[in-house]
């Protein structure tokens, strides 16, 4: 079974970490990642940019592009794509393509800060 492990925290606090604190967290996680990679169990690893860099495509008959992250609590995170885009415009166009008329839901478009494709899951 493949599992996604999603990281949640208060980004205002994380942005206030000193470089040493940030490095300490990353170092610990890096050691776990190395172990998982050696075991052939590590898929893609992603660190997202802050929500201030996010744009959201909200569904509806006339889909709306709004600044900021997806903030509703009535809906749940169901999946994600990592897509190479030349610009935010292209990312929005891609999200529009993914949207289906029948289904509702929203797409939050968030640039990545770090991406490691992973060593391939055995």
């Amino acid at each position: 079974m493949l599992y996604a492990i999603l990281c949640y925290d208060d980004e205002a606090v994380v942005e206030s970490w000193s470089p040493e604190q940030d490095a300490a967290v990353l170092a610990k996680r890096g050691r776990v990642q190395e172990k998982l990679a050696a075991q052939g169990r590590l898929g893609p690893v992603v660190r997202l940019m802050p929500t201030t860099a996010a744009t959201t495509l909200r569904s509806g008959r006339e889909p709306m592009v709004i600044d900021g992250p997806f903030a509703e609590t009535k809906e749940q995170l169901l999946g994600l794509y990592v897509v190479e885009c030349a610009s935010l415009e292209q990312a929005i166009a891609t999200a529009r393509e993914l949207k289906s008329d029948e289904a509702g839901g929203s797409f939050e478009i968030r640039p990545l800060r770090l991406f490691r494709p992973g060593s391939g899951i055995a």
Partner: protein, 417 residues
Amino acid sequence: MSCLDWIGVALASARPQAVGALLRYFRDLDRAEEAFQEACLRALRHWPQNGPPRDPAAWLIFVGRNVGLDAVRRERKQEALPADELLSDLDDAEAVVVERLDGERYRDDVLRLLFICCHPELPSTQQIALALRIVSGLSVKEIARAFLVSESAMEQRITRAKSRIAKAEIAFEAPGAVELAERLAAVAAMIYLLFNEGYSASGGTAQIRLALCQEAIRLARLLLRLFPAEPEIMGLAALLLLQHARAPARLDAEGGIVLLDDQDRGLWNAELIAEGHALVDKALRHRRPGPYQIQAAIAGVHAHAARAEDTDWAEIDQLYALLERLQPSPVVTLNRAVAVAKRQGAAAALAMIEPLAAPLAGYFHFFGVKGALLMQLGRDGEARIAFDRAIALAHTPAEAAHIRQHLDRLAEQHRGG
């Protein structure tokens, strides 16, 4: 890394929201700060045992409000402050307050707190010092070090600034649209000043200056979280990120200035540049250009060039032309002249800056640019005069040393030729 370090970070990042809300309750800055301080002391006692609360700001506001109310009562009746154990609702603090903390109020609270630091009567250095003290929670000692003044002098400066804003009328009602826009603009300008204080190196050691830049970025991101759809705030955050990304390459090992053209671009922080680009992209979608967005776009063009010679000077020239239209100023024209020199040569640029001689008569960079253009044209004698003037106007030893290099080169050429 101790548990207290992590709690310290949580307290610092909850501070603007908590002090902002306490200021709304008590309508008195000193009381709000004291209440927050006391709430922090209690947090340091409670959190290590019980773990930090889910919403530290709500906890601190609740506890701070109780503490502050107690202080008010005590002053009236001379009663003793109840002990922690007697504050029975401490554990429920979160649940009670979380519901009441609606987003809009929080936004107004934080903006008000930032805005009171921007009182138009306060000189800009006092605005920044006050924001560092009240909003960021830096100690007077830390602020004094950053401004290269004694602790007592800084204490005095902050006290004076505080008493001035205490006399000013602070509006506690939710601001209307026009007022909101005005406050936002004033706060954005203050954050930009704070960044420049760190960036332009008018004082302090390199490390403290970097901390000021980082603090400005933290506040810009905070402001953008509160106003996620404001393109100028996106522009401001992007501008700071893109400029700060170059920090590791701006000074050489001896602390000398390395010009943009000569910087090792491999040292630029790629993550900050990517975030800056993302924000510029977001802002441009609004098609409401403003000075911060345009300056961010200019910084973005520089960041985009892998080598100095790849820089798209035509784009930069156009962006500066747009900036000149939106916000005409001799400094903008001077900057545009640098782009013009790259495209049309030094003579065209020199003609462009000629009319700036009077308004920029006391401006270091004017004489630096003028001297460099004259040197390119082989007018060494005039270049030397301009460089001498620049050195006289330099704010830092690094600025002066940089100009001295030009003078040395001129002297060498003279000997050689």
